[in-house]
């Protein structure tokens, strides 16, 4: 049996990924709004950290949180200039929430790729970076995840 990857001290995770997560948020939100989103991302990560069961895919996990924080930030009604129109889902929940639920039991890499691509509209290059793999591998993971989801819906 493979041993689960141990969860590192939060300091290691933070030190290793803070700069790239910050750059990601700057790309999504612009320099001015990135600071608050950065803090919020890592505070949310800290809140969820004790519930993790293993240390795999931590980078993708962080990117998912950062993407969610950025999406929340972009949806804030108070902002005078909506930088991005969030397409409404049927039940009023944002698209990414719906998708995270649907993709819940895909293999981790496919799930991350599907959620980041179709829920958060990340580019394959960004997803590749989040998953620690190539752009092409990210594209493949997303498309095989989608195939798997489609197959499942037909079965039902």
């Amino acid at each position: 049996m493979m041993r689960a990857v141990r969860i590192p001290p939060f300091e290691s995770l933070y030190a290793e990924h803070r700069d790239e997560v910050f750059r990601f948020l700057v790309r999504r939100l612009g320099r001015e709004r990135a600071d608050d989103a950065f803090q919020e991302t890592f505070l949310r990560a800290l809140r969820g950290y004790p519930a993790l069961r293993h240390g795999e895919h931590l980078r993708a996990w962080l990117y998912t949180i950062a993407a969610r924080v950025a999406a929340d930030e972009l949806r804030r009604p108070a902002e005078p200039r909506p930088a991005r129109e969030e397409p409404a889902a049927y039940d009023g929940r944002p698209q990414y929430a719906e998708l995270e639920h649907l993709a819940g039991d895909l293999p981790p890499k496919e799930r991350s790729a599907v959620v980041l691509r179709y829920g958060y509209d990340l580019s394959y290059a960004e997803i590749g970076a989040a998953l620690g793999s190539s752009e092409e591998a990210a594209r493949q993971a997303a498309s095989s995840g989608i195939r798997r989801l489609r197959g499942r819906r037909i079965d039902r």
């Binding site: 001290p9 939060f10 300091e11 700069d19 803090q39 505070l43 800290l46 950290y49």
Partner: protein, 189 residues
């Protein structure tokens, strides 16, 4: 583009203020070299000489939980008292310490150790006797050797039955330096 020091500091502060850390730590300078000082929910839980933060955070995460983060604010009070001690403005520490996770014998010995006054010496055998195990001097030695909170729990005040310094996890030079600071002269064997 990288995270600015201001933003980094802001996050580290916010994480501690929000009560989200199992352990906050920082590295502080002292006359006996840099010290890693760690504070958990129940109080001071580690002081390390010659800290290698990477290994240290792993150990702390295993003992106290994975939310270990360098965050200076929660460590301020311990740092202030240590500074005072090294400046001879303070002869005892008033800090909650967390030794909960140690074995009962370890804890009992460390609690006795905490009462050994500034500027005095005791012996491994005497502590063993006080702990109700007069023949356990060697075991007391190993408790001292693994003392998680040296300086504050003053294992530098414990010497061999002949008065020789015997040993110190942080190195004999440091034991000598701490005793000299407290005005005690002890012989190396």
């Amino acid at each position: 583009m990288t995270v600015s020091p201001e933003l980094d500091a802001r996050f580290r502060d916010a994480a501690a203020s929000a009560g989200l850390l199992d352990v906050a730590y920082d590295v502080t300078d002292s006359p006996v070299g840099p010290l890693l000082v760690a504070v958990g929910e129940r109080g001071l839980c580690r002081i390390s000489f010659d800290p290698e933060p990477e290994r240290e955070t792993e150990t702390l995460a295993r003992a106290f939980g994975v939310r270990v983060l360098r965050s200076p604010r929660p460590v301020d009070e311990a740092r202030r008292q240590l500074d005072d001690y090294f400046e001879r403005r303070r002869t005892s520490f008033d800090l909650p310490v967390d030794i909960e996770r140690l074995t009962p014998f370890n804890r009992a010995v460390l609690e006795l150790l905490a009462r050994v006054p500034y500027g005095t010496l005791t012996t491994y055998g005497a502590l063993a006797g006080e702990a109700g195990k007069p023949r356990a001097a060697r075991a007391v030695g190993s408790v001292m050797n693994r003392n998680p909170i040296p300086i504050v729990l003053p294992c530098h005040r414990v010497v061999g039955s002949t008065g020789s310094l015997v040993g110190y996890a942080g190195g004999l030079e440091r034991k000598e330096a701490l005793l000299e600071l407290e005005g005690v002269r002890a012989a190396r064997s």
